[in-house]
């Protein structure tokens, strides 16, 4: 094992701060929620079984959404991955490479689209006065189960495709050539070479999609039309913020939600461990790409169109005629404060999530080098750090609400609660990016720099920092874009004086001010895509680091 280079003092501080943050933001609220539930009266236990139809509806929605997304994503990802291998060939035409990289960019756009924007866009298509109705095709699926599934598939199939494509691209072409020279046809090559290499990535992506669908809030709330399509998330929310407060009902929904997301999360951890044991490409293997052919150009152009299909629904928000009217004094006064709150939240969340994730990375590196059972301790710490990704923000918010009731009045609004919940939500994302970079620290280079007279800090600055700069910026931008349109955390702790931008959109939709909601959504989408494009450019400058 590589020795930890984290000095003892910094290591202990990092460990204490990380565990302190996680205790306050996650463990304590969850512990309070569970103990309060277990210690409650018979009524609460009855409520637990009363919400079972909602559990069934949630599972049904999530399973359908996941199954369709997984099948579509697998096919698209394999195709994209094969084309990407061709595009890496130095003899490949430039336009093939450009089509493929633009197609990949299109596939990555859905994760930058705020859910509130997606909901507005789908209403623009499927609503009673939507585009389909206007051209005489009344689909009549808005405010129904099918609309929610359709929106989830458009969100998640590109996610599965993106990861499958990455894994497929990394399969050494020599293995495929070898199988072919030994007589393997297309199906045999898929069965013996491709599938074993991509299966853990595919299963992980599928499970993550399942969890995202179970935890989906804004899309279900707006596209499901409230009561017609109820999931655990919307049921929990309605018990907390609609009408009279129903705490036993909310706790029952929260507990079910923990169970429903906890099991796939444990499976996900196991899959990811398997994936780590079976890396896509062996380090000592040369990486030969597929040979470009004239068919590649046509295929890459078709791929570009297919990838663009997944972005088209969201473009609908740009078609409203009200965009310029938002610049009038009336609307500006209406949205200036929510905009400021959203920006403050986004920047605070991005900075907080990056700092906590970096502390967690430092803490785990420190633990790895110090303790006698280093491997187990660091695995446990890694498990603890990624735990918040398995918990719905609303469940965490409910725990927060109960645990800190003496200090936070949700009906008065709490910026701090919103911020902590969002940091907790996004921190595992940052950690997942930072941890592999930390693991690949070039200790021998740091030692070499030190033997040449550099202090540990100077050595880090010249040897390690260049590897970290782009990922930190990338994660910061990604989280800021995500936080800008995040709905769940802000929905629990808003007040009339503290209404972030996504809630303004949601309210305008409720007041049938669709055009204004569309215009504001267009602004949010443009901001998110601009951030994503910036990230793509930054990532492009330092591809080795990103990998």
């Amino acid at each position: 094992m590589k020795p930890s280079r984290v000095p003892a003092n910094i290591g202990w501080v990092a460990l204490a701060l990380t565990l302190g943050f996680l205790t306050l933001s996650t463990f304590w609220p969850l512990a309070v929620l569970i103990t309060r539930f277990l210690g409650s009266s018979q009524t609460v236990l009855t409520t637990f079984f009363d919400v079972f139809p909602v559990v069934r509806a949630t599972l049904s929605q999530a399973m359908w959404s996941t199954a369709v997304s997984a099948v579509l994503g697998l096919g698209l990802g394999l195709w994209a991955g094969r084309l990407a291998s061709v595009a890496q060939d130095k003899h490949s035409q430039k336009c093939v490479s450009k089509c493929i990289s633009l197609g990949h960019f299109f596939l990555s756009i859905p994760y930058g689209v705020p859910t509130i924007v997606a909901a507005t866009a789908w209403i623009s298509w499927l609503g009673r006065h939507g585009y389909f109705a206007q051209i005489g095709i009344p689909l009549e699926i808005s405010y129904r189960f099918q609309a929610v599934i359709l929106a989830h598939v458009f969100f998640n199939a590109p996610w599965v495709a993106y990861w499958v494509s990455q894994a497929r691209t990394e399969i050494p072409q020599e293995e495929l050539d070898a199988a072919q020279s030994l007589g393997a046809g297309v199906l045999c090559r898929f069965r013996f070479v491709i599938f074993p290499r991509i299966k853990w990535t595919f299963f992980s992506a599928t499970l993550q999609v399942f969890m995202l669908c179970v935890m989906s809030f804004a899309l279900v709330l707006i596209l499901g039309g409230g009561p017609p399509v109820q999931t655990l998330e919307t049921a929990l929310y309605s018990r907390m913020r609609y009408g009279s407060l129903d705490m036993p009902g909310a706790m029952a929904c929260g507990l079910w939600q923990l169970l429903v997301t906890g099991v796939p999360w444990l499976a996900l951890l196991w899959f990811q461990k398997k994936k780590a044991l079976n890396p896509s490409r062996n380090s000592n293997e040369s990486f030969r790409v597929a040979q470009a052919s004239s068919r590649s150009l046509i295929q890459s152009a078709v791929f570009l169109w297919v990838a663009a299909l997944f972005v088209i629904p969201y473009v609908a928000v740009f078609s409203g005629g009200k965009a310029l009217s938002l610049l009038t004094a009336r609307y500006l006064s209406e949205i200036s404060l929510p905009l400021l709150i959203s920006f403050k939240l986004a920047l605070g969340t991005a900075a907080g999530a990056c700092v906590v994730a970096l502390l967690a990375v430092l803490a785990i590196s420190f633990v790895q080098g110090r303790t006698s059972c280093a491997s187990r301790a660091s695995t446990l710490l890694g498990f603890v750090v990624s735990l918040p990704s398995s918990i719905s923000v609303l469940v965490l918010g409910l725990g927060f609400w109960i645990a800190y009731a003496d200090w936070i009045d949700p009906f008065e609004g709490s910026f701090v609660a919103m911020l902590i919940l969002q940091v907790t939500l996004f921190m595992p994302v940052a950690f997942r990016v930072f941890w592999p970079i930390a693991q690949n620290t070039a200790h021998f280079r740091l030692s070499a720099a030190e033997t040449l007279g550099a202090s540990p800090l100077t050595a880090f600055r010249y040897v390690e920092f260049p590897r970290w700069r782009a990922p930190v910026l990338r994660v910061f931008a990604m989280i800021a874009a995500g936080a800008l349109g995040e709905v769940a955390a802000v929905s629990l702790f808003y007040s009339e004086k503290l209404v972030p931008l996504p809630l303004v959109i949601s309210r305008w939709m409720g007041q049938y001010r669709f055009e204004e909601a569309q215009a504001l959504s267009a602004f949010l989408l443009a901001a998110s895509v601009a951030v994503m494009a910036g990230v793509q450019i930054l990532g492009g400058k330092n591809r080795d680091v990103i990998r």
Partner: protein, 229 residues
């Protein structure tokens, strides 16, 4: 040693490469071990990939065992290939890797095991028959790659720098093992390498890639025979 229709004939081979044209006209009779020497980037691996059907030539014909195979897909060419980095399949164990070619030809599992056992014993791999290939050393992986390429009795064996990643002692051992295997299964062999020692130890015929400059200024590289031993 027989010649003519039994072996490999390459006629009028031409391929436009990045910065040069590659041309070749040669034949390798049955039982002959030919070595193609050339620097990195000279086009020798490309030639080998064209023979295996993985890449296409711009012109020329490839005849193997009297049959024109230029338009035949790689899986139907009956050519065994040992790749530079072995290209073993990590999802399959040693036995499954070694007998993959037989499996693709519909040989039953029992028969495959019966056929592979002597090969694995001969190369000292019988104790690891069902181990993951990722657990093998570099030399062991290379031995599995040799077995995988030969066990289904291809009509031609192509080797792409098979010893380049190994240390000197292991190279020597594996060269001897390859010679031993070839004595028993005397198919035509084409080995591409930049290592003169490999050529010295294994070649019965040597080819090299020579460079000339054509009138238009585009570099021409031609495969020529160096000498026969």
């Amino acid at each position: 040693m027989s010649s003519g229709k039994e072996g490999l004939q390459v006629r009028g081979f031409f391929k436009k490469m990045d910065g040069f044209d590659l041309r070749a006209d040669f034949e390798i009779p049955q039982g002959v071990r030919a070595v193609l020497l050339g620097k990195s980037g000279s086009g020798k691996t490309t030639l080998l990939r064209v023979l295996a059907g993985i890449e296409k030539a711009d012109a020329g014909s490839v005849v193997l065992g009297g049959k024109e195979i230029s338009q035949v897909s790689p899986k139907d060419r009956d050519i065994g290939v040992v790749f530079q980095e072995q290209a073993l399949f990590p999802a399959l164990d040693v036995m499954e890797n070694a007998t993959f070619g037989l499996r693709m030809r519909g040989v039953s599992r029992d028969e495959r095991v019966a056929l592979a056992d002597p090969w694995l014993k001969r190369l000292g791999l019988h104790k690891q028959s069902f181990a993951a290939v990722t657990q093998l050393s570099g030399g062991e992986r290379q031995r599995v790659a040799f077995i995988r390429a030969l066990i289904w009795k291809p009509k031609l064996l192509l080797l792409d720098e098979p010893f380049s990643a190994l240390d000197a002692e292991l190279r020597q051992t594996l060269r001897l093992e390859l010679l031993d295997l070839h004595k028993q299964w005397p198919v035509p062999v084409l080995l591409v390498t930049h290592d003169a020692e490999d050529a010295q130890a294994l070649a019965t015929v040597k080819f090299q890639i020579e460079t000339s400059r054509a009138a238009e200024g585009r570099e021409q590289r031609v495969v020529t025979q160096a000498f026969s031993s």
